[in-house]
Symmetry: C2
Subunit: 272 residues, 2 copies
């Protein structure tokens, strides 16, 4: 026997993210909206590539089953095909239709009809080649190696373990920027002026820094008990690196409490 | 003198993407919706980290200026603060408010109030550590190197230049999967059975393939005129690789016309 109240209490609310392509947009939207309700536990199920009416019906069937088994599920859909959307809407779920919600208003504003083709925003679009080229560049110009810094859009500089590599990969993959990175060694920091390898590109440099305490923690994980990971070492390096940034007017970020997305967005969209 | 008709015709429509955090969600939403109007030229401006009323007013000022200079701009906003949203809405633009549109309906459905805190979906959330760990794993287990394949969530296999590295990086960065990759060499393909290094993990293998013609094109860019890039070589390798996948019931994808996001989404959400 089902006991609805009890049932609902112990259960996560299922959220279906339905897309005719990757589902990345609708996942981002749902994550953004549901993060506003962070005390409610959600169980996310992404159903990507729902690009035929048949698949839409199967998805609806699966959602209907979940609705029958417990609390009413949520559905975020970015399907573009009207029939597929109708099939999905008829699944007993709480249905948020991205396409339906915004597209009519946009059609009116733009004085044009939506093409109705399946989402292409995460496909091989016009800038795909340059994003992949940027990624290859980032991989080939990681940690001070690589010979074409002159082709970099941005060169991240910072002490070892300040988060340069993930930021470069994200800048390349997501923003299509040719991002190189150069680690500031103790030798670099002891020397006056910028490291010779990056000095010619001062206006493309971007510094990453973080608190010595946090840096020591990260380095301890990597080389426990080493001088490299000692707080005093980290304090010295961070102080010198930040002095270098200030002396050469290199913009820099404290990345200690920032995600790679936040770091990359800050670099890709500098404040004016 | 302004000549409105002429002005509008030659001009791109400016789209402002305004967020109190990275802007990644609102960029994805706008890209997805505007890809439905692909004959209209848009000029995108992302304004991330609009996290004070002051910054919102400055953003509104900038948008108002654009509205004055040409065609009415579009604004996609995911701001959560009511005052900041009001400031932005009052900018003379065509205003799509992500928060306003969906949050009330969600509040009713969930029987809970939105927290109203700035978006956290691309911040250092609960799974951030594991995403970064996955990225380090992917970097350390690229192209057949790395010693901890037993810890991999997925191991991509395929001939040289079938797109394994970008897919692994995306799987790690975006989906938090520990993704390794192993290149099928001519030696591997000539030998019966799976390569010894990956054979113990058959159920975690995922194959990438593409047409020999496309592979030859990609390899030509890398090593023009080489035997490695010859069509006959590519035909042989692709045929053998696909036979291997079939013989060992390894799921595989033809990545020739797929973006890295599409490949990663297919692998992260296998069809049931």
């Amino acid at each position: 026997m089902k006991c609805p109240g009890l049932y609902a209490e112990g259960m996560k609310r299922t959220v279906f993210l339905v897309s005719d392509r990757t589902g990345i947009t609708v996942e981002a939207l749902s994550r953004s909206l549901l993060s506003q309700f962070d005390h409610i536990p959600f169980d996310q199920v992404t159903l990507p590539f729902i690009d035929t009416l048949d698949k839409a019906r199967q998805a609806a069937q699966r959602i209907r089953q979940t609705a029958r088994d417990g609390v009413r599920p949520l559905v975020f859909s970015s399907l573009t095909d009207p029939e597929a959307r109708a099939a999905l809407a008829d699944s007993g779920a709480f249905f948020l239709d991205l396409f339906d919600t915004f597209i009519e208003a946009l059609e009116r504003e733009l004085g044009a009809r939506a093409s109705g083709e399946a989402g292409k925003s995460h496909g091989m679009g016009a800038n795909y080649g340059s994003r992949m080229e940027a990624l290859n560049f980032a991989l080939a110009h990681d940690d001070g190696v690589g010979s074409r810094l002159d082709r970099a859009d941005v060169i991240l500089v910072g002490v070892s373990r300040s988060g340069k590599t993930p930021a470069c990969l994200y800048l390349a993959l997501h923003y299509g920027l040719r991002a190189a990175n150069y680690p500031l060694t103790e030798e670099d920091l002891a020397r006056p002026g910028l490291p010779p390898l990056v000095a010619p590109y001062r206006e493309r440099l971007f510094g990453l820094t973080l608190s010595p305490e946090r840096l020591a923690l990260i380095r301890q994980e990597r080389r426990p008990g080493s001088r490299y990971a000692e707080l005093a070492t980290c304090q010295g390096e961070v102080r010198q690196a930040e002095s270098l940034f200030r002396a050469h007017r290199i913009p820099f970020l404290d990345t200690g409490a920032m995600s790679v997305e936040e770091i990359a967005s800050s670099i890709a969209h500098p404040a004016r």
